[in-house]
């Protein structure tokens, strides 16, 4: 994404200054963010000077877009819903609050993945470089924590016993969490084994025993 571009704009009234800034940046009024320049507060200034930029507004646009999409989707699926969308670093985190999750029970992960896939495809179509995570309350966060916890335990075991441990098959996202956890130990290494399918196994091993890893 483009860096923040700040321009100065001056007009006889605030509206005039805003309009000029929009023209210069070639964006609609609602995606413009601006700040009055300090001189404006001097008594008796006869023009209005602003600093204007777009980026923050575009970030909000992405959030609003995701929120609208999920709200309409859940409404069409007859769920009473509330969606809380936040920017999280470079990504977007959308936490759903649903009443009556009975219909999803047991298929929660599948349903969240399906919604996430839809949202991300729609974001790509919008030309956004951001990706979203769709979560129900903190379901995914808890899952991530448990993956990290298991990785932690495995690291301790490999450290103390010097053995090689192979974990259960996991998807790419979870494997990444494990690799990140293992990377905190200089004495340990990890690699993913398996076919090119979706689910590979992560192997954690002590570094001195492997001669060829990088």
């Amino acid at each position: 994404m483009e860096g923040k571009r700040v321009i100065m704009s001056e007009g006889n009234t605030l509206n005039e200054a805003i309009e000029k800034a929009c023209q210069e940046l070639a964006i609609p009024k609602q995606s413009l963010q601006y700040r009055l320049c300090a001189e404006h507060f001097r008594f008796g200034a006869d023009t209005v000077k602003i600093e204007a930029w777009t980026q923050a507004a575009i970030e909000l646009d992405d959030c609003a877009f995701v929120e609208d999409l999920l709200k309409s989707l859940l409404q069409l699926m007859s769920f009473q819903n509330d969606v809380d969308v936040q920017l999280n670093g470079d990504g977007i985190r959308a936490a759903l609050k649903l009443e009556d999750t009975g219909a999803i029970a047991g298929r929660l992960r599948e349903v969240l993945d399906a919604m996430q896939h839809l949202v991300n495809k729609a974001l790509v179509k919008q030309g956004s470089s951001r990706r979203a995570i769709v979560d129900l309350e903190d379901y995914r966060e808890k899952h991530d924590q448990s993956v990290r916890y298991v990785a932690q335990k495995v690291c301790e075991k490999v450290l103390s016993e010097g053995c090689v441990v192979t974990l259960k098959p996991m998807n790419a996202y979870d494997r990444r969490l494990v690799h990140l956890e293992v990377a905190r130990y200089q004495e340990l290494g990890s690699r993913s084994n398996g076919t090119r399918g979706q689910m590979k196994r992560v192997q954690v091993f002590p570094r001195h025993r492997s001669d060829d890893d990088s």
Binding site: S78, V111, A114, H117
Partner: protein, 77 residues
């Protein structure tokens, strides 16, 4: 169900005006037929059918929630 499928399809295709959805009642349940612009076929199906399967998941959950069992989603060309 028609509205849901139309919404899902329009969210991902590049020719939303070409999206057509038809509900065909059958013995075992309803079949929802989705038609999109030929260049959008791949988009709506997705790699290894991921997108259409995501749609099917959401449609199945909505059907269950609205107590309309056995809704089958098919892409038709």
């Amino acid at each position: 169900m028609k509205d849901l499928v139309t919404f899902l399809a329009k969210a991902v295709v590049s020719h939303p005006e070409a999206v057509q959805v038809r509900e065909v009642p059958g013995e075992g349940g309803t079949t929802v037929e989705l038609r999109v612009h030929p260049s959008d076929m791949g988009v709506v199906i997705g790699r290894k059918g991921r997108t259409i399967n995501a749609f099917r998941t959401l449609v199945a959950i909505a059907a269950q929630k609205q107590q309309k069992p056995n809704v089958v989603l098919e892409v038709v060309d």
